[in-house]
Amino acid sequence: MKKMLEVKNLEISFDTFAGKVQAIRNVSFDLKKGETLAIVGESGSGKSVTTRSLMKLLASNANVENGEILFDGQNILEKSEGEMRKLRGSKISMIFQDPMTSLDPTMPIGKQVAEPLMIHHQASKKEAYKKALELLEMVGLPNAKDRFKNYPHQFSGGQRQRIVIAIALICNPEVLIADEPTTALDVTIQAQILELLKDLQKKVKTSIVFITHDLGVVANIADRVAVMYAGKIVEIGTAEEIFYNPRHPYTWGLLGSMPSIESSASRLYAIPGTPPDLLQPPKGDAFYPRNEFALKIDAEQQPPYFEVSKTHKAATWLLAPQAPEVTPPEEIQKRWKKFEELKRAKEVKDNE
């Protein structure tokens, strides 16, 4: 499949009063056409910075130290502001986290949806408005025609997020970046918005980068998952692999802290400790202080990526050939078992 987006060895730091914060430390991933890649991680793990760098919308105190971001074979980081402006909203577009603040309060919503079309395709006002109305109906905004000239504050949160999605989709972007698009919404609306995104992806064949800290949402929408911790991708694989065959202790912790119907524990697990200070990133594995399965080498050396399968790799010394056998938490063992079952079922199916 064609690769839409390739991020290679990206390193980004921020100048602050306290010093240089190394927010992104050697991140690489790619995005294929039509797939959904979810980036998961806790607050401050660098998810949002990664996505903003895809749009080249980083704050002025950010420095890209190293790496490249290839879109259609061209390095985005070398593009001028004018060239970026042509890409933004047309080829790559973005849905922001909070629909309450990401719409202009003083512009009618119809105009806001139509605007990218007028900027990028020099569409006439009439055409753009017509397309905007169609799109607003497609994203399921009730009474779109009557409400075309209404202002953002006259809509509910879910309706506003539909409008924001319409703005992001109007130019049929090749890559859609969704930065926690459901975080600010309540659960029922969340489900509707996720369904909508899935439907729209089928219709317009967009690749989606989906940022979230909610694993439930990930299970719902992602083809592939990248788990981020302290500015690095610690594990990346297909959704099935991450959910049922997780190999990194941090992924174990994340999955363990997600409530599920099957889990028998009476108390919800929480990963102890806090993420490291990225002003002085640790020499070894950043997860070392919080990791109950840590090896001595974790304190000394950063783990490289070990391949679990062709699509699945994780950065943990536990996968090194010399590493001792570790028994993961019960919850994870169950998941592994399920993964084996799934694999066997697949093999049976393939043999038939």
Binding site: M55, L57, S60, R85, K86, L87, R88, G89, S90, S93, M94, F96, D98, T101, S102, L103, D104, P105, T106, M107, E115, P116, I119, H120, G140, P142, N143, D146, R147, N150, Y151, H153, Q154, S156, G158, Q159, V164, I167, A168, Q192
Partner: protein, 305 residues
């Protein structure tokens, strides 16, 4: 029958009908204005004054503004001169109409120039920040420490061919700075809002974001600054004319009329020469200020009643 299954086939995912909507923008300001009886009264009075001065000017005969020593110093309510005449025999009522109009025109022009200039510079400075902001702010700081009245007074005496237009430019030269600062502070706050980032993410240019998105979002501040600015600038013009450095002597204004009060004899025994202009100035300034504060209240949710 009541316990039959209800017909529920078309349940929509979200409420279809718009609920009653809170008023916004100008509607809100208007609502706030209409709630305030004194504000309505103020606006009515201001409209009457505008009609009186602007329409009245059309009916003022040229002779009534000419010097005519024989008719000098007629008291108020004398025949042919409702408000009397000054020493030169000019009709005070005519002077009041034409002078009031001139003062208002100057006040409005100065406000228009300084608001437009202040708005553009405030937007650029606040939106781009950094070095651009620093440069503009240091220039503004510099202009603000200059003693503006002294400079205007000196320049009026230096400039040959001095007329109302040059006076407008001179006052504007100094008054745009406070507007620019005022707007900059709001633009700074707006710039950090997510819709600006979202708009960038959909490919809008900086100029488009500045003028089509940030500008409408600070519109209520602009209205307030315009309204209060007009009152302030009429005051400045009047003050300068009173001191004799405003409009040239041949052009009447509220200030020149009030300037008659410089003469102790006038102030003691000929109130008709200066009193009408004083009253008119007070009414205009007070009413405009009051309307301005109502706008301000309407625009600020915390002060809203």
């Amino acid at each position: 029958m009541l316990f039959n299954k209800a017909n529920k086939q078309n349940i929509k995912t979200e409420a279809g009908e718009p609920i009653s909507l809170p008023p916004s923008g100008f509607k809100l300001v208007l609502k706030e204005l209409l709630k305030d009886k004194f504000a309505i009264f103020s606006i009515l009075v201001l409209v009457l004054i505008l009609l009186f001065t602007f329409l009245g000017s059309a009916f003022v005969s040229k002779e009534s503004l000419d010097t005519n020593i024989l008719d000098g110093l007629m008291p108020a309510f004398s025949s042919g001169h409702f408000l009397g005449t000054d020493e030169g025999g000019k009709d005070i009522l005519s002077l009041l109409i034409v002078g009031g109009r001139n003062s208002i025109v100057i006040g409005i022009s100065v406000t228009a120039i300084s608001i437009i200039l202040g708005l553009v510079i405030g937007l650029i400075s606040g939106y781009f920040g950094g070095v651009v902001d620093d440069i503009f702010m240091r220039i503004i700081d510099f202009i603000m420490v200059l003693p503006r009245f002294m400079i205007i007074i000196i320049l009026t005496t230096i400039i040959s061919n001095y007329n109302a237009f040059t006076l407008i430019l001179l006052i504007s030269l100094f008054s745009w700075t406070s507007s620019a600062r005022y707007f900059r502070s709001f633009v700074l706050a707006q710039r950090e809002r997510e819709y600006v980032m979202a708009s960038k993410a959909s490919g809008s240019s900086n100029v488009a974001i500045m003028f089509r998105e940030v500008l409408p979002n600070i519109s209520s501040m602009i209205i307030i600054d315009v309204v209060l600015g007009i009152a302030g600038n009429i005051g400045i013009e009047t003050g300068l004319s009173f001191l004799g450095y405003g409009l040239p002597a041949s052009t009447p204004s509220l200030g020149t009329l009030i300037g008659y009060a410089n003469d102790p004899v006038n102030i003691m025994s000929r109130p008709w020469v200066w009193l009408p202009a004083v009253v008119m100035l007070l009414i205009i300034s007070y009413m405009i200020n009051y309307v301005g504060t109502v706008f301000q209240r309407a625009a600020d949710a915390r002060q809203r009643r």
